[in-house]
Structures are given as C-alpha cells and as structure tokens.
C-alpha cells in the first residue's frame, strides 16, 4: 500500500495505491480531499476492481449535502442526501491528522458516511493505550473494529493500522 499526501493552499489531498507483486504496477485505491482548515471532507473517491471491470464510488461533500455517485460495469447510480451535522468520510479516519480531534472524540459517537452503503453510520473512537510517542485508539464502525496508532506530536501521523478481523496489520513507513 502506498499513500501520497499533497498539500495545497486550502486542501489536503490523500491518494492511496495498491502494489500487488510481482509486477508492482500501482493500482488506484482511493483519493480523498480534505479542507485544510477544519479537516472536513470535500471529495472522496474509491476504486474497486471486480472481474467485470472497475467500480468507482464518489462522494462529493458540501456544507448541507452529500452527493454520491456509483459507476460500474452494471450501470450508474446517483443519490444525494441532506446533512444536518458534521459527517466524516469512511476513508478519513485512516488518515486523520489532527489527533486532538481524535482525543476529543473520546467515547462519543460521530457520523461517518460509508459511500459503498450510501448510508451514514455511527463511528466511535476510544483511546486504549499510549506511550511516550504514540496513542492507540480503537475505532468501531458498522460492526467492524480497527486499531489505529497515531504519532503524539504534529503532524500526528498514522503509524500502524490493525484490523484483526480483516487480517490487516499495516506498519506505515515514511518515504520522503
């Protein structure tokens, strides 16, 4: 997995790619654009490979509305719904820069859009351990549990991602 971060005046753009041996050609996984000021989501794109071709899920966020578009070999679907409270994108949690925000989540629930479901779910982040350099939080969403370890100091980099039920155990290394 390769993550790319691009910083512009008012946006943070994350891109992730898969590298599947032996050919090592990067395959698009997700693209996510955040508002740099308050880390609110602006655009989220997710590519899924199936035997018939490619599925693209796109969520376009505005202050009061989310527009979801699904393009697939079977056809296209589009929907939109109004939002009355801050909604985070499913992808956002994995790249959450502001740990202050994560700590403030505590045991509180917050709304997370899972674009593939076209529905908003309750997410919860709970700090479970900390050492000198990092925090580990337990993140639960739609019946799934993911353990995320963040750097304590700015830029609050995500260090590890463990999803025992999915069989993931990722250690993220910086490659400048």
């Amino acid at each position: 997995m390769v993550y790319e971060i691009e910083v512009s005046n008012d946006e943070l753009i994350y891109r992730s790619f898969f590298k599947i041996p032996p050919n090592d050609t990067p395959q698009k996984d997700a693209e996510f654009i955040l508002n740099r000021e308050d880390l609110s989501p602006r655009l989220s794109k997710k590519w899924l490979q199936i035997s018939e071709g490619e599925i693209l899920l796109e969520a376009q966020y505005s202050e009061k509305e989310v527009v979801l578009t699904l393009s697939s070999p079977y056809g296209n679907k589009k929907t939109s719904f109004r939002i009355s409270q801050p909604v985070y994108d499913m992808e956002q949690m994995f790249f959450l820069l502001s740990l202050n925000k994560a700590i403030n989540f505590g045991n509180q629930r917050f709304s997370v859009l899972i674009p593939a479901s076209g529905m908003i779910w309750n997410g919860r982040m709970q700090k479970i351990s900390e050492d000198e350099d990092s925090f580990e939080v337990k993140y639960t969403l739609a019946g799934e549990i993911i353990y995320l370890r963040y750097q304590k100091k700015e830029p609050y980099r995500l260090l590890t991602l463990r999803a025992p039920h999915r069989g993931y155990d990722l250690i993220l290394e910086e490659d400048m």
Binding site: L68, L70, S72, Y74, G75, K77, K78, T79, A116, S117, G118, M119, W121, N122, T140, L141, A142, G143, E144, I145, P164, H165, R166, G167
Partner: protein, 251 residues
C-alpha cells in the same frame, strides 16, 4: 430485462414447487394462496435491515455480530413456527398429509425474503445493504442465485418445523425437538458462514465460493436430510398403523 429477471426467477421457483409437491393434490387456490402469501408478507414487513443496522451501530466484533445474526435467525424461525402452528390450529389435524403445505409456507417466507432483498437493491438509489457489511448495488445473476438458494433454505427449514410439530403431536417429543433444532441450524449455518468470511481472516476464502458451492451444498444436503427424515416418519407412522390394526379387536 434485468428488472424482469427477479419476477421470472420467482415464477419459475413457484412453478417447479407446484409440479414437485402439488401434482396429485387438489389445489384449493384461495386457501393455498393465503398460506403462501401470509408468511411472504410477514417477513417483508419486519424491519430486518433497520434492526441489523441499529445493532451494528452499537456493537462490533465477531461475537456481537454472531449474536446479532443468531437473534435474527431466531426471529425468522419463530415466524415460520407461528405460521405453521396457526395453520395446524386452523386445519384441526396434524399429519404428514400437511407436509407439502408446510413446505409451501417455507416457500412463502423464502419468496418474501427474496423479494425484500431484491426490491431493496432495485429501488435503493445507491446500494442495498444486506447484512454483515455486504452491499449490492445491482441485481446480477450471482445475486439472484444467492437469494434463490436462501429461499430454498427456508423451504427446508419449514419442512423440519412441520415434521417437528407432527412428531411432537404424536408423542415423539425428543425427535420433534431435534427436528426444530435442525430447522434452526439450517438457516444458522448459512448466517455463520457469512459472519465467518467477514470476521475471521482464515475463512475469507469462503466469500469466493459461497454462492457457487457452499449455498448449493447446504441446500442439497438439507433437502436430502429432510427427505430422509420425512420417509422415516412415514415408515414409522405406517408401522404404528399396522400395529394398531393388528392389536385392535376384529368383529
């Protein structure tokens, strides 16, 4: 055509069922129609997906999800049991002649399950959520196959519940309870498989073989075992009748 395919599938399913089980039986259209439609409507009006979503919003992990799935299976089996026992009360008899009607109740519930899931995917503006983090956005051949096999599991389960009720009414309590447990297990195995491939990484390969091998295998084995149990019960009853006629005084 894609929108007609679920209806065509359901019509074929009902036709095959009628040919198999109602060939020699006089069909009372209104009576059997109601027997089929009531469980169909019953399962469609349960807010199954909303209930599952509510529970998944509060619990996470293998065991809580396993419990959620068991609760939902229990609700479905209870509905089948209620439908079967109310028919028995209405008919005021309970014997093996009612067996095809029990299967018809199962087909009604299976069809309701099928229609509920298909309509959800059909009309949902983006994706139909159908449990354990699985989403489907379009009605595909694989999706229809999965729904048909799941409907068949309801037929098998209803058969076991019917046999269980017959056995209990005839004083074979242990065998009756065992049949009710089989009815539960047949639906629960399917749910457990789906939970396992979502939550246990070493079982994730199940996902790729679920529709093409696991579901058909479960339906075939379940049907074969139901058929064996039915024949065994039939033999047992004919033996009992024979014994009764031999011991009863003749004029």
């Amino acid at each position: 055509m894609i929108y007609l395919s679920p209806i065509i599938t359901l019509v074929i399913l009902i036709f095959l069922f009628s040919v198999l089980f109602f060939r020699k039986r006089k069909i009372a259209f209104m009576h059997n129609g109601l027997t089929y439609c009531i469980p169909l409507v019953l399962i469609m009006i349960i807010p199954y997906h909303q209930l599952e979503r509510l529970l998944l919003n509060t619990m996470a992990g293998l065991w809580p999800v396993f419990s959620i799935n068991t609760i939902i299976t229990f609700i479905e089996i209870s509905l089948l049991y209620i439908a079967i026992t109310s028919l028995t009360r209405k008919e005021k008899i309970i014997d093996l002649n009612l067996f095809p009607i029990y299967l018809l109740i199962g087909l009604g519930m299976g069809s309701g399950h099928f229609l509920r899931d298909v309509i959800l995917v059909w009309y949902h503006p983006l994706s139909g959520y159908f449990g354990y983090s699985q989403f489907s956005s379009f009605i595909t051949g694989f999706y229809l196959a999965q729904e048909v096999f799941q409907a068949l599991l309801f037929v098998v389960s209803a058969g076991f519940i019917g046999l269980g009720c017959i056995r209990m009414a005839k004083g074979q309590s242990l065998l009756g309870i065992a049949s009710l447990i089989y009815a539960f297990i047949i639906i629960e195995i399917d749910s457990i498989i789906r939970v396992l491939f979502q939550y246990v990484p070493s079982f994730s390969f199940f996902a790729s073989v679920y529709v093409i091998s696991l579901l058909p295998l479960l339906s075939i084995l379940g049907s074969a075992f139901l058929w064996y149990s039915y024949r065994r019960q039939e033999r047992r009853e004919s033996e009992l009748k024979k014994d009764d006629s031999e011991t009863s005084p003749t004029s």
